[in-house]
């Protein structure tokens, strides 16, 4: 668990981060969103002490980060930035091996770890290990950047607009991959973005920042249904709100008994997906299947519509 406690950063007279506190549970993904210049990157960089806080502290599993030598702290925290900052003079394998080598792992263990990560990120080791960053596509560079950050098995991963430079299709795939890897490794992640869709898609909790202050820290559903103030409400987007809400709810939760015609939808998909299928096919209801493919009921337009607004 990581606790951010009254963290403040001042440059001269200007407050860049103002008294921000929140906690991220073990194994969850917290997203920091906000407009440009809100202080998101500064907040993130205070966690691994690339920026020294003016006041406040950061606790990782109860341990104050100031008690840990800077470099050692950073060895333990993965860090991914926009543009990835891959070392142009080192090939993919050497890039990924950076932190393990700083930690003086023995070379066999390093090689093994590199191979493991290349597999995990679907980069064929034989093909990619010896390529240099300039020989990779943007999406591949991004994956190498994340693999490099995860190399020494950090318990915490900081990501500053990691998908900012990717096109929409690749970005969506990279987001899915990140979620899958996070579920698998149980890494705690703090991710900065200014893309609201990304925040809702990835975040277990979302921290909304504006002008150096933290306005609200809540689950996506709470943010939609009880925005703390006008700014959050506008940021969340009033027109998008119902659809965002629907994409947070699984079909499972709106399951009704009965039987409908047509191609079944999986219970694990979102109501947003179910609604689009209904609109597109012009039906009133869809059959629902569980993970094994067995039909377990149906989901109807009426049922979905009831979920697309705040509960009374």
């Amino acid at each position: 668990m990581i606790e951010i406690d009254r963290l403040t950063k001042r440059y001269g007279a200007t407050l860049v981060v103002d008294d921000v506190s929140f906690a991220v549970e073990e194994g969850t993904l917290a997203v920091v969103v906000g407009t440009s210049g809100a202080g998101k990157s500064t907040l993130l960089r205070m966690i691994n002490r690339l920026v020294e806080p003016s006041a406040g502290r950061v606790l990782i599993d109860g341990e104050d980060t100031r008690a840990i030598p800077e470099d050692e702290l950073r060895h333990r925290i993965g860090y991914v930035i926009q543009g990835y900052g891959l070392f142009p003079h080192r090939n993919v394998a050497d890039n990924i091996a950076t932190v393990p080598r700083l930690l003086r792992w023995d070379s066999k263990k390093v090689a093994q770890r590199v191979e493991e990560l290349l597999d995990l990120f679907q980069l064929e080791p034989a093909e990619f290990a010896h390529k240099f960053p300039h020989e990779l596509s943007g999406g591949q560079q991004q994956r190498v950047g994340v693999a490099r950050a995860l190399a020494a098995r950090p318990a915490l991963l900081l990501m500053d607009e990691p998908f900012g430079a990717l096109d929409a299709v690749i970005r969506s795939k990279a987001q899915d991959d990140l979620l899958a890897i996070q579920r698998r490794l149980g890494t705690t992640i703090v991710l900065v973005t200014h893309d609201m869709n990304e925040a809702f898609r990835l975040g277990d909790r979302i921290a909304v920042m504006d002008q150096a202050r933290l306005l609200q820290y809540a689950t996506p559903a709470e943010l939609l249904m009880r925005p703390a103030d006008d700014f959050v409400e506008r940021l969340v987007g009033s027109a998008e709100r119902p659809f965002r809400l629907l994409s947070l709810i699984r079909v499972q939760e709106a399951l009704e008994p009965g039987h409908a015609e047509g191609e079944p939808i999986a219970a694990s998909e979102s109501l947003h997906d179910a609604l689009s299928r209904l609109l597109w096919t012009g039906r009133k209801a869809l059959p629902v299947a569980d993970a094994s493919g067995a039909l377990i009921g149906q989901v109807s337009v009426g049922g979905i519509l009831q979920r697309g607004r705040p509960l009374p």
Partner: protein, 250 residues
């Protein structure tokens, strides 16, 4: 083999043959000389002069490189940052000094011979290497450095593992410039009695023997062009890994 590398190889062979056995080429120079004058430089061995010339240049360049790179590193660290603006200005000013002036001023201070030449080569050689070290170290992309810091590399590790390797092609280009300037200055060094290929040209000028002048000029020119090409090759290899984007830096 490309035509260009064929020309280079031929030039190298001709140069080596001429330095080793100049007498064989005497017939080429005979039309240029007054009757009775020697057609081939006869006051010393071309081979020995060439080696002495190269030795002076190598030594001076090595010393300049060590000092210039160390200074370049120093002024780009936080501790030396106060010296950065001044050192940039000094390099700009220093380059307005012609090498011959440095050479000439050194003579009265240290006497004739190798010493003033060495001093001039060393001092003048510092400038391009220092300048390129600065350029190389300050143009390391900031996301790369940010990532290095974020991964917990300390200042030393960042310098050795990231900044210097990335600056290497530019530093090498500086060393190449320095070597080429030094080859020329060392030639002029013969006017202050340093051993080197300039002797051949000076001897030709003094005895009005165009053949000597031409021989000296040819050997020095070919040597410079070939060394230049060789060093460019080394830079290419160093820059290739960086995606060739630094190939064009000169």
């Amino acid at each position: 083999m490309t035509p260009a590398s064929f020309v280079r190889l031929t030039a190298l062979l001709v140069l080596a043959a001429f330095i080793a056995m100049p007498q064989v080429f005497a017939f080429l120079f005979e039309p240029l000389i007054a009757p009775g004058a020697p057609a081939i430089y006869n006051q010393g061995s071309l081979l020995v002069l060439t080696l002495q010339h190269l030795r002076t240049v190598c030594l001076a360049t090595m010393v300049s490189t060590v000092l210039a790179v160390a200074l370049g590193i120093f002024v780009t660290r936080p501790a030396g940052a106060e010296f950065l603006p001044l050192s940039r200005s000094l390099v700009n000013i220093g380059q307005t000094f012609p090498p011959i002036a440095v050479l000439a001023i050194a003579v009265p201070l240290v006497g004739f011979g190798e010493k003033p030449t060495f001093i001039a080569l060393f001092l003048y050689g510092l400038l391009p290497i220092f300048e390129n070290t600065l350029t190389g170290l300050t143009q390391v992309p900031s996301p790369t450095l940010e990532a290095a810091r974020g991964m917990g590399m300390n200042a030393r590790q960042r310098l050795v593992q990231v900044e210097l390797p990335l600056a290497l092609p530019v530093i090498l280009a500086g060393i190449r410039l320095s070597v080429i300037i030094s080859l020329g200055t060392a030639t002029i060094g013969s006017t202050v009695a340093a051993k080197g290929l300039g002797e051949v040209i000076i001897a030709g000028l003094q005895s009005n023997n165009i053949a000597f002048v031409l021989q000296g000029g040819l050997v020095v020119a070919l040597l410079a062009v070939l060394i230049h090409d060789g060093l460019v090759l080394v830079e290419r290899v160093a820059a290739r890994r960086l995606g060739g984007s630094l190939n064009e830096v000169s």
